[in-house]
């Protein structure tokens, strides 16, 4: 089962490697990983998606909590939440495909953020599923490059992850 774990991490050198190391050391999967500083300079916020049965998930959250650099964590998939992945995709855009790509981008509510004589760079935000569908819809086009941020997530409503 897919889970989204959100972590407040000490913004210390080496803290990230402890989290990543834990996953490789104990044979857990990481599907996506997103990490950036927060409004509090001493903290980073890390969102990772992983898969595993309930027993594995219990161990993953316990093991993460045991790391001294992990200040707090929540399994977002336990409740209502919002998840977003950002994708930048560069495609060959020439001839008839130029219009077609523009139309498909509009349907997905994407934006063309860079235009070259023969290329478009499209920015698209959404769940991982939506981004996958967009890539599938672009099957006819010549995809040159895809870059995704990995999932960032937050709980809905009053529930917050903070100190």
């Amino acid at each position: 089962m897919r889970r989204i774990i959100s972590i407040l991490l000490e913004n210390e050198p080496g803290a990230l490697s402890r989290v990543i190391g834990l996953f490789s050391q104990r044979g857990y999967n990481i599907e996506t990983l997103n990490v950036a500083p927060t409004e509090d300079v001493t903290l980073s916020r890390l969102t990772l998606t992983t898969t595993g049965d309930d027993k594995t998930m219990e161990q993953i959250t316990k093991q993460l909590n045991k790391l001294v650099d992990v200040v707090k964590l929540v399994d977002l998939s336990e409740g209502a939440h919002i998840e977003r992945d950002l994708m930048l995709i560069k495609v060959r855009a020439s001839g008839a495909m130029r219009d077609e790509i523009k139309r498909t981008t509009d349907i997905f509510r994407g934006q063309i953020v860079d235009v070259g004589p023969n290329t478009y760079t499209i920015q698209l935000t959404g769940t991982g599923e939506k981004l996958d569908s967009f890539v599938a819809a672009m099957a006819e086009a010549d995809i040159l490059e895809v870059v995704r941020s990995g999932v960032a997530g937050i709980s809905r409503g009053e529930k917050v992850l903070r100190l």
Partner: protein, 633 residues
């Protein structure tokens, strides 16, 4: 010079306290009463408000912080990156330093010291090879949850990442085998970092903590204010202080309803200083107790309620009782694969109560029915209180008739295949290894500290030396580190110079750190080394006998073993060879009679002996054991 002494020196009678909180530097020339070089810490002092603050270099701060932490011994080995620290220790420190012959031995000696005393072991090594040599010892301590602080030198900050001479990423290399690690970035952070390291190493589930210190942070010409913090604030580290009362109540009810209970106690009972409480609990309920390899001594071995060790080479009665139990109270144990055998077939009828300070240990391999996260000590106290109140209300619990039948069953198992109730090893004209341990037990009155290496000799010692007290059995249980025994014994002997310390070993293990015989000479640690000599890597050979049709791939030394007697003599110690059973006790007594000498007993044993019982694997349950070469349950 102590802080108190320093204050006296710089604040003599009539010293005018500063009335306002302004920091200023005293004249560079030290106060006339202050003799700095070689005897004191400070070459200058600050007056910070009303507080008198010492000015120390990074190296001096390390020396001073270790003193303030109450460290009794530093085990280490010098090198380029730690020379400033060594110089500061040399000039100022009152903490004795033990110079080992290999950094691995420094960690094992600190580890042995920690296991015997309960205090954290302290290690100081240089960068690069010094640090990597320490890794095996750090991993050993990590697997057995032993408190240890390892200070490793690092190349100067500006050289980090440049593949400088003797540079290695110690924080990176040690990351999976430490409880936590620190990289010092500014010299002024040293005291607080050391305080945090000791706090983390010794609280909650203990473990090793590494502090990596770049050389420039310890340079003698940069001085800083020294404050050793009394308290530590770590917002993300708060080990449980108490168990959940509701869970403990549930556990108490389940315990009292048990008809076939077993208490399964591990190393956590020893680390949590709870042997007495455990014993009180077991006696109050009259429930049988089994100890893990790490838990030996947590419950007195000579007590009637003790079933012996459990697990792969556990006692028949212990493994049978576990398998047939209806309630298991696991205390400070972690359902290791060497205990459970096949997890899917583990104790099918048992409800499990699991007490542990570390939540990750609970339901990691075997699911707990009643998990209790908390320090063993406070949880057992609470459990005893609740049991008292429950029994007051209903004195008929536990069911004594059922318990009587359970004990009858256990006694039958004991009579049938119990290790201590009958002679469970073969007859031979050679010395049997079990007889050596029995002799050691007799001669030391069961009161020695016994360290071991890893292999058959370790299992024989665990089975046949009856440990009645915690912290007496010192072995590498989790990592299984050959080469642990001799340096660990050294650490124990330094901590308890008046106690007998024996290292039970084999030719394979002893040669992995035999260079420490030299350290034993330098620091006069008269331990007794009991070498169970069979000319094989015994445990490897046993597995090859049982599973590889006796093909001894790389488990023999042929004629390459040294003459151990001459070898130990060349180090200035005493060697005694024992080949006949009739002389075993006498030689053992002779060895222990030499109080101030290290004696190496090279005892030739029957090389064909195996360790039994042994779990049947793969796919066996706790109850499936080989009892001898041709008997199975």
């Amino acid at each position: 010079m102590s802080v108190a002494g320093l204050e006296q020196c710089i604040a003599p009678k009539g010293w005018r306290r500063q009335p306002y909180r302004v920091r200023y530097r005293l004249p560079q020339r030290p106060h006339s009463n202050l003799n700095c070089f070689g005897e004191g810490y400070a070459s200058s002092v600050y007056v910070s408000g009303r507080d008198i603050v010492e000015l120390l270099s990074g190296g001096e701060m390390i020396a001073k912080a270790l003193e303030d932490e109450g460290v009794e011994y530093i085990f280490g080995y010098p090198g380029g990156a730690v020379l400033h620290i060594y110089d500061a220790l040399f000039k100022t420190s009152k903490v004795p330093h033990v110079l080992v012959r290999h950094e691995q031995a420094a960690t094992h000696a600190a580890d042995g010291y920690a296991r015997a005393t309960g205090k954290p072991g302290v290690v100081l090594v240089t960068s690069g090879p010094g640090a990597t040599n320490a890794i095996t010892g750090i991993a050993t301590a990590y697997m057995d949850s032993i408190p240890m602080v390892v200070l490793s030198g690092q190349v100067a900050t500006h050289l980090i990442g440049e593949d400088a001479f003797q540079e290695t990423d110690m924080v990176g290399i040690s990351r999976p085998i430490v409880k936590h690690s620190f990289m010092v970035r500014r010299a002024e952070d040293i005291p607080a970092t050391i305080r945090k390291a000791f706090h983390i190493a010794t609280t909650g589930r203990p473990g090793p903590v590494v502090i990596d210190i770049p050389k420039d942070c310890t340079r003698p010409d940069a001085k800083f204010e020294y404050h050793y913090p009394e308290t530590v604030k770590l917002r993300s580290y708060a080990p449980a202080q108490r168990g959940h009362t509701g869970q403990i109540r549930k556990a108490a009810k389940l315990l009292l309803s048990a008809k076939r209970p077993v208490i399964y106690a591990g190393g956590g009972v020893i680390l949590g200083e709870s042997s007495e409480l455990l014993t009180r609990l077991a006696r109050k309920l009259n429930y049988p107790v089994t100890n893990t390899l790490m838990g030996l001594g947590a419950y007195p071995a000579t007590d009637r309620q003790f079933l012996g060790m459990l697990g792969m080479h556990g006692f028949y009665e212990a493994n049978m009782a576990m398998h047939h139990s209806d309630v298991i109270l696991a205390v400070g144990a972690r359902f290791d694969d060497r205990v459970t055998n096949t997890v899917a077939r583990f104790c099918p009828g048992a409800k499990i109560i699991h007490i542990d300070i570390d939540p990750t240990s609970i339901s990691k391999t075997v699911a707990a029915d009643i998990p209790i996260v908390g320090p063993v000590q406070s949880v057992l106290e609470d459990l005893l209180d609740i049991l008292d109140s429950l029994q007051e209300k209903d004195p008929k619990q536990p069911d004594t008739a059922a318990l009587g039948r359970w004990w009858q069953q256990i006694d039958e198992w004991r009579a049938k295949h119990g290790l201590w109730t009958g002679r469970r090893y073969g007859e031979s004209d050679r010395i049997m290894p079990q007889q050596v341990i029995e002799s050691l037990y007799r001669v030391t009155g069961g009161d020695a500290y016994v360290t071991s290496d890893v292999g058959q000799h370790q299992m024989f010692a665990a089975q046949y030396y009856k440990f009645d007290k915690p912290r007496r059995w010192i072995n590498s249980g989790g990592l299984g580190t050959m080469g642990f025994g001799l340096p660990a014994a050294m650490g124990v002997k330094l901590a308890f110079p008046d106690m007998e310390v024996a290292c039970v070993t084999g030719e394979g293990s002893i040669q992995m750190n035999i260079q420490e015989l030299s350290t034993c000479k330098q620091y006069s640690t008269p331990i007794k080394i009991i070498n169970l000599r069979n000319n094989y890597l015994g445990m490897v050979k046993q597995w090859q006998d049982m599973q590889y049709e006796g093909r001894y791939a790389m488990s023999t030394y042929e004629d390459s073993l040294p003459d151990f007697i001459k070898l130990v003599e060349s180090y200035g110690h005493v060697g005694i060879q024992v080949t006949r059973l009739e002389e075993l006790d006498q030689r053992m007594e002779e060895a222990f009679a030499m109080k101030d000498r290290l004696v190496f007993l090279d005892i030739f044993i029957d090389p064909m002996e195996h360790v039994y019982p042994m779990h049947v694997a793969p796919n066996g349950a706790m109850k499936d054991m080989w009892l001898s070469k041709n008997e199975r349950t």
